[in-house]
Symmetry: C2
Subunit: 311 residues, 2 copies
Amino acid sequence: MSNASIEVLISEVGPRDGLQSIQSIMPTANKELWINALYQSGIREIEVASFVPAKLLPQMADAADVVRYAKTFPDLTVLALVPNLKGAEAAIQAGVDKITIPVSASAAHSLANVRKTREEMIEELKKIIGFRNAHAPLVQVEVGIATAFGCTLQGMVPEDEVIWLAEQVIEVGVDEAGLSDTTGYANPAQIKRLFKRLRNAIGNKAGAAHLHNTRGLGLANCLAAYEEGVRSFDSSMGGLGGCPYAPGASGNVVTEDLVFMFEAMGVNTGVSLEKLFEAREVLRLGLPGEAIYGMVPEAGLPKGFSKKGSI
Amino acid sequence: MSNASIEVLISEVGPRDGLQSIQSIMPTANKELWINALYQSGIREIEVASFVPAKLLPQMADAADVVRYAKTFPDLTVLALVPNLKGAEAAIQAGVDKITIPVSASAAHSLANVRKTREEMIEELKKIIGFRNAHAPLVQVEVGIATAFGCTLQGMVPEDEVIWLAEQVIEVGVDEAGLSDTTGYANPAQIKRLFKRLRNAIGNKAGAAHLHNTRGLGLANCLAAYEEGVRSFDSSMGGLGGCPYAPGASGNVVTEDLVFMFEAMGVNTGVSLEKLFEAREVLRLGLPGEAIYGMVPEAGLPKGFSKKGSI
C-alpha cells in the first residue's frame, strides 16, 4: 500500500508515552522488536523515546540507541519527545526526524510537569529552534499543547489561552502545533470548537490530536476531530501510558481500536489490523505482567470484516 | 428541570437487558430500589422487564410486579420487552406504557433468537398490533431492529434488508422502529448512513439507537447517531447486558458515560450525574459480585465540571 493513499496518519506513541509511564523497563532488544513489528503493520510515524536524564526516567536511558535502530527504516518518521534544549540537542544528535515538545496550556500543569512557566517554555522553544536552524534544518519541530481541554490541577483552561499559546509557538518558528487532552477531560463539542479555532489561528500548521480515553470518550473525540478536518492522531498500542504528572489521568487512545474505527469507516490508515495484532503480541512479550488494553483485540474483528466500510 | 428542556432522551435498559444477561437474580425489592434511584436521577424512560416464560429467564419472573411498581411514578415511561403476542398480552395487562419487540434484520439471528423467520415476526407483530388496538390503544409499540449493523452468525446484514424490515413493521402499525447494534459491529460512518436511510424511509417513526460498546466504539457511534438527528438512546447502567444469543457480543453503552458525554457537550439529558452515581451504588448493592463497568464513575468528573459545556 502506498503512503500516497493514506487518509489519516496514526502516530504511535507507545514506545515513548507508554513505556515511560510504567514501572517495568523494556529491554532495548524488545523495543527494537516492537518497533519493527509496528513498522511491518504499516505504522509510519513512531514516537520512539524521550530525551531526558536517565536518573529521572530510566525507561528511556537507551533513547539514542532506539532512535538509531528506528532510523534503519527509510520511510519511517522517527519522533522523540524532548522537554528542553538539552534534550533537543541529544535527540538531533541521535538522528531523529522530528522532535515533539509538550507545552502546557495550564499554568499550574506547566510548573508541575517541567518546572517552567508557559512564557519560560516559549523562551526554551526559541533556543531549540535556533539550534535546529543552525545544525539540523531538516528536523521538524512539533509542539503538543498539553492540558488543552482542561487540567486536573487548575480545572478549566481558557480556550483563548490555548489559542494564544499555539500562536506563540508558531511565531517562534515551530513547524506545527497540536492539541493534547492530557487529562481525559475533552468532549466532542469542545474538540470541534478548539480544533476549528486552532486551524483559524495557525492554518496548516495545526497538528495532531493527542487524545485520552480516561472517561471513555477517546474514540468519540477522535471522530469529532476527524470530522473537523484533523488527519493526524497520536495513539498508544494497548493503551499504554498517560501523563504521570496529571493526577488521575491515564489512558491513551488504543491504537488497535482507533485503527479499527477508521478502517471500518473506510478511512485508510495504511495499517493492517492483523499485523497490528501481531505487534501487540510482541509488545506483550516485552512487558510480561503489564496490563495491555484494547476492546477490538479482545472482541475480535467482526465476522466477514473487510476494510472500506463493507460491514 | 422540566421535561420540555430535555434534548436527548436516555432510555435505561439495565433492569431488563442488563439483568436478564447475567446469572444473578436481583430480588424484586432491589429492582424497585434501583428503579426509584434511576427515576430520582432524572431518567424518565426505563425498560423494566421482559415478559417471557419464567423457566427461560428466571431473572424476569417478577416482571408484572416490577411494572406495577414502576407505574407509581406518574411521568415515567415504563417499557417492557416482549418477544411475541403472549408476552405483549401479559405486559399490557400489567400496565406498561410501551412495549418493545426485537425483530432481527439477520435471518440467521432471527431464527436463533426467537425461532421465527423475519416474515413470521411480521405476522406476530400484526397480532400484537391487533391486540393493542382492541384492548389498550394508548400503549405504544416500538420495534428494535436487531443485528442492524452486522451479525455474529451471518456476518454482513444488507442495509436494504434493514430498511425493508423497518418499512414492513411500520406498515403493520408499529409506532416506531429503531436500530440496534446487537453485536457491536457498527462504525460511525455506517451509523450515519443507516439512520439517514431509516429517516428517509419512515420519517418521524424512526426510533432509538441501541448501541453496544463491544469494540470500544459505543460512544463514537452514539455521537454519530446524534449528529444524524437521533434523539433517543438506549443504554445500560454499569454497561450491564448484551445479547446472550449473539456469541461474543456483549456490552451495552454505559449510561453514566453516555450521560456524561452529552452533558459535557452541553446537550441536556435531564439527568443529574451525581444522582446517577448514587443509583449506581444502589445497583451495586443489589448485585453483589457482578462486574459494574463505566469509565466516568471510575475516573470521576473533571475538576470544575459543570453542565452546558463549560469545560
